[in-house]
Point group: C2
Chain length 187, copies 2
DNA sequence: TTCGTTTTTTGACATTTGTCAAAAACTATA
DNA sequence: TATAGTTTTTGACAAATGTCAAAAAACGAA
């Protein structure tokens, strides 16, 4: 929990009262490897902070699992579309490692926003960060070649390669596993 | 200006005081076709609301212009990365049509956030909307074929095709102009 | 309208990436 | 350490998309 409070105060400082309120409202969740945090069709009603561990978001397309994002330590994770719109999620969230998470429901978070301007500010800033992170992934996906995307990954988030099977990484990069394997053999 | 106030109150209601503050802080900008709102290397210090007209964001890669987004009526536009991080923009923003915009500087906006919780809330909600919009574009870019992306565009934002040259649309979809032309000939 | 410019389409070919099947390498565990 | 299961690599070929050059069409100003 302290890790969560420390982390978010990199975004914006919090009063003691707001910190206490957050402590009261987040609930600890411990899950083993391969468990699901969410399965498609459910409405995702929680935002999670990943204290330790790793997970992936994936959806099914023509019988194949398409992994489109990963979460690691200090990431906020949720099925954003479902969480924001209250529509059923199209994706699954599955643990890649045994993990410790802190969960807060949308209702509780909304109540905190009403009570503490500073918490809503935090969220506004978090969205900024996540927006530009996504924007970068978008540009990579749309305008870079498969090799460039892999090299980017090597340079910017090498920890992913060490912790995640290559099959998941291939679809994270938007290429087939075979192509990824061939790219890797050229180094 | 009234259009701006109406539009954002779809997100979240505003007190009269907040509305007046916004009215005082946004400045009207009128620009002719082909003018630049921003050129690469500049720090983008403003957020704009596009009341009427159209524009594009593009950057240069190997001598080619890569258009990666468009803005139309009722869109908030800025170079998000630059606006958020205060780093020089890698992109240019150019008017596709003569346009009317409302501009607010980041400093002024920050001051409004401090004064009006409800305005910061509005921004938090706006980021939510823009986040899931971008997420959808990302999934399209990474996991859909060129034809699927074009069909998507036809169904979801047909106005783009009517108002923007095909060359820009091709790079918006992440394909070459020739490929786009061939896809179109199949309908 | 006509001329010059810009935009869009078409053709020929090259390159990248995907698919399917099989082999090889790795991992966990009995 | 032997074995079954999983993950990764390799090969052969197919499909999608890109590139370059030229033709055709559309557009705008005089």
């Amino acid at each position: 929990m302290q890790q969560l409070l420390n982390h978010i105060q990199n975004y914006s400082p919090l009063s003691a009262a707001a910190q206490n309120a957050l402590e009261d409202c987040f609930e600890k969740v411990t899950l083993p490897k391969n468990d699901f945090l969410l399965t498609e069709g459910q409405i995702c009603r929680h935002l999670y902070f990943l204290e330790s561990g790793a997970l992936r978001g994936f959806y099914n397309l023509d019988g194949k699992e398409i992994t489109h994002w990963f979460g690691f330590e200090k990431d906020f994770v949720t099925s954003f579309h479902s969480f924001i719109t209250h529509e059923p999620a199209v994706e699954n969230i599955q643990l890649l490692e045994g993990s410790i998470l802190w969960a807060i429901s949308k209702e509780t978070l909304t109540a905190l926003f009403n009570q503490y301007h500073e918490i809503e500010r935090l969220m506004r800033i978090a969205y900024e960060k996540y927006y530009i992170r996504l924007e970068e992934r978008f540009v990579n996906a749309q305008f870079k070649t498969a090799s460039e995307r892999y090299e980017n990954l090597l340079q910017q988030t090498p920890h992913i390669i060490e912790r995640v099977p290559l099959g998941f990484i291939a679809s994270y990069l938007g290429i087939s596993q075979e192509t990824l394997s061939r790219i890797r053999s050229k180094f």
